[in-house]
Symmetry: C2
Subunit: 309 residues, 2 copies
Amino acid sequence: MTISEVGLRDGLQSISTIMPTEAKVEWIAREYEAGVREIEVGSFVSTALLPQMADTEAVIKAALNFPGLIVAVLVPNRRGCEAAIAAGAHKISLPLSVSETHSKKNLNRGHPAMLAEISACLDLVNAQPSHQKPHFEVGLATAFGCSIEGAVSAQQVYELAQQVVDRGVPEIGLSDTTGMGNPTQLEELVTGIWDRLGNQVLSSVHLHNTRGQGLANVLKAVELGITTIDSSLGGLGGCPYAPGASGNIVTEDLVFLLESMGYHTGIDLEKLLAARHAVAALLPSESWYGFTAEAGLPTGWVPTVPTND
Amino acid sequence: MTISEVGLRDGLQSISTIMPTEAKVEWIAREYEAGVREIEVGSFVSTALLPQMADTEAVIKAALNFPGLIVAVLVPNRRGCEAAIAAGAHKISLPLSVSETHSKKNLNRGHPAMLAEISACLDLVNAQPSHQKPHFEVGLATAFGCSIEGAVSAQQVYELAQQVVDRGVPEIGLSDTTGMGNPTQLEELVTGIWDRLGNQVLSSVHLHNTRGQGLANVLKAVELGITTIDSSLGGLGGCPYAPGASGNIVTEDLVFLLESMGYHTGIDLEKLLAARHAVAALLPSESWYGFTAEAGLPTGWVPTVPTND
């Protein structure tokens, strides 16, 4: 199982505090030490809109010094993809909202314009020499429902997924951007995509805990065979008490679930909890969240040994 | 699916505030109106130790006025069972801790003494005329682990369950008292008991959300065929920020999970959220918890219609 830490992107973009580059690198180092091997370190978006992400290039460069760490980054368009490739990111994700209303509001582009950006990104990626070629993934945002449009049908998801794959995108992800999803719906979408497009195109989900359903959805996903789960240290950007909270799944609680079920994450939960406290100290004005950190590990908990090293 | 509301017992016993009887009845009325049809309204325990429960007899009497409501009560021993029968409770639960250390600490009795109390209760229950005979259930506490002893083996659970059933107890429940459980363990315990003792002896679970695993465990339980889930309105007694929090599953989040998956609870979630706000106003000094209440219902949510009426 791969835990993909998204707090440095999804978390930091949700708060107004601007974390200094060296603090971001400290965050990466702490989670790396705990065994985390995939981190989305930032995004190449408008620095006027999201000044929290202005140092993404520098953070990528620093992150590349950790051996074996997959350095992921989010891009909204061709220009961002160009910057991500230039910086040397291993993995590039582009969000495509199934709800066209949300797409226009979020990225100011409808589906045809977004699909054109995706094709342009793909051309850039495919032009790289094979040993430097990053993974390129399109995340289907609002796949479980939209806070503007309401329900999003499975058919809408399948049709857009088909268009993305038809353009040659090797991998798509499913995102419950609005925290509206449930395990039945997740099963329908995952198996529906696998049936139509093959199992190899979908192996990751980005779930939110907005209505407390995050880990129930994770359970269904891993039982189906999904192998990469996004989450955020301390649920950053995900505190349910903050207005506009995105509700990210808490990395610590996710690791507790998977490790206690016998799945291997390669993450040492005690070290991860230590990382949480260290990073929280770097962002003292933010709300940190998570049940396992509050309750502590159970009596008799046997720590796992990271084998990712 | 039956949601068994335990906030009036498990919640109120965890806080120092003593809720007046009329406020408890208001709580029952609000949840009843939302469609809840099983409520554990209190416990017959030492009123010196738990003055919050001193009016349990009066609360039972009031609760019996709601047509179709199953009025449940917790008892620790024969004396409590006698009081529960006299008050006219429909359902009597007795907690038996699989960890004998916890049993001695919690109820001052080891397993042999507890089993003797259980047999005495059973005699009392069976002496009732059949139209007045309450359901009698033994809840296996600390079945997923003990905060004093640490791990509790499945074998310990099976052996104690066997002894309970051998004494003639018709129904047992599984309780994750300490919030240490995970879905793999839950599946092992549920199927292990069903294999050994038959499916009819176990249909309910009492899970905690101490480490955020509550709804993931619920998902596994309902998929296995468990039909009764305990939970607490607003997670009362379960706020993860309160010292010694028990971490009850939040009724509102549980109903969101089940209804959005297409399970029928008979509960109108909008009315339940209104009940939460009304009851919170009756207990202004307590922390109320829950993701669905914080985030609100999703855009386009179609309310269910209670059919329990």
